[in-house]
Symmetry: C2
Subunit: 266 residues, 2 copies
Amino acid sequence: MQENAVLKSLLERKSIRRYKPDVPGEDVIETIVRAGRQAPFAAQLGSALLSRERERHPFKAPLLFTMLVDVHRLERVMAARGWARKSCDLATLLFGIQDAAYMAQNMVTAADALGLGSCFLGMPPFRAAEIKKEYALPDRVFPLVQLAMGYPAEDPPPRPRYPLPFTLYEGRYPEDDQASLEAAMAVMDEGYLAQDYYRKAGVMVKLEGKAEETHHFGNYSWTEHMGRKWGQWLTDPQAVLEQLRACGFDLTGGAEQAPEEEQPRS
Amino acid sequence: MQENAVLKSLLERKSIRRYKPDVPGEDVIETIVRAGRQAPFAAQLGSALLSRERERHPFKAPLLFTMLVDVHRLERVMAARGWARKSCDLATLLFGIQDAAYMAQNMVTAADALGLGSCFLGMPPFRAAEIKKEYALPDRVFPLVQLAMGYPAEDPPPRPRYPLPFTLYEGRYPEDDQASLEAAMAVMDEGYLAQDYYRKAGVMVKLEGKAEETHHFGNYSWTEHMGRKWGQWLTDPQAVLEQLRACGFDLTGGAEQAPEEEQPRS
């Protein structure tokens, strides 16, 4: 079934971190965003903010899209019909993050179909206040993720993934099972080591505190990398909540605390 | 550029709510999930739980995938390497929701390439405790969204979307501008009315309280629908936080409060 162009594109997708300087044309950019915007859900809470200031982008990618959860736009549409948003910020974000994510994934797939590579950059939520200032985002717009994009100047292999039985369950969540865990870890660790991924990327997450380094690029594997990231980083929820507040979102409060005005119905 | 099979698939995608009873084969199901799992990010926080109990599914779709933010699996992998998760639940979910969403979007695109239609069902986060029980989800697994899937028994048109200038910004977020707002609302409202969408779907969100109905299917439009949903529903963040807590997630607390043990390094 991999002869199918769509499946081939999805199954062989990989992040690109080296780009040619060529700037994609307007028609290419517009087609990518058109494909993105056709994604569900139809609440259309996602929008895309493009920068072409290549020198300022990660990997000097010619294009950088900041994917926004754009509640401000929804509120403008609602206000024009005499409605005020009463859905709480948490529920609105749970939908809006998905809207922006589905749009982003379709943009990446469309880009691939047009010969462009891409790389997802995950840190915007953790420096949202800074991005808000940079791009003059109004309140209630949250930068979810960025997409670096352009014509690829490298051709890495697709990266390993967990075996199917470790990702696809049926009927009920499976009991914890040591054999499938070990098989999945082996696929990931051996796969990344065989591609020499972390050495080529020059990435090894430091052990914090006074712990001595126990690994080198010959044995620093995917599961070790995961352990170090999720075992050491992003520990403080207040730091994330602060970024959300800076963008006008309060996860524990919500529109229910707004004055209960009678809304005109247009 | 629409001759391109990938672009055609993305640009013409629409939700399917009527399905043939035919059950897709194992190879089809596996290809769909393989395409899904190749999506970024590589933290692999998304997994898919399949049900084939057609009679219990929305639209009697032959397949129902529940897309999971599967932090339990990550924790198992980490524990096997001597690590405990310290990243707070909020940050972990911000990444995990994206992992599961990118996977879901790729599954939908792959399904389309194989002749299957699909429909995203957005309510799982708001009845997560019930889904946890139904599928025996362990703690720290969150059901994000469900995908109904199968061979389509209808062929609706793609649905309208905001005009491109209302979705793609460049350099900075645009100033509020009445003309582009009105143009966008007209595209959406006239587009949905021309397709007679809400009458065919039999959907009109009720006005709550004592407000009298002001609309009929002849003028009940997309923006009116949005106003009624986001202006009346999902107002209480505590209800959502409760569902998250039932799944073992605490958005304002986090692993930082766990005892600071020295971790063995494998």
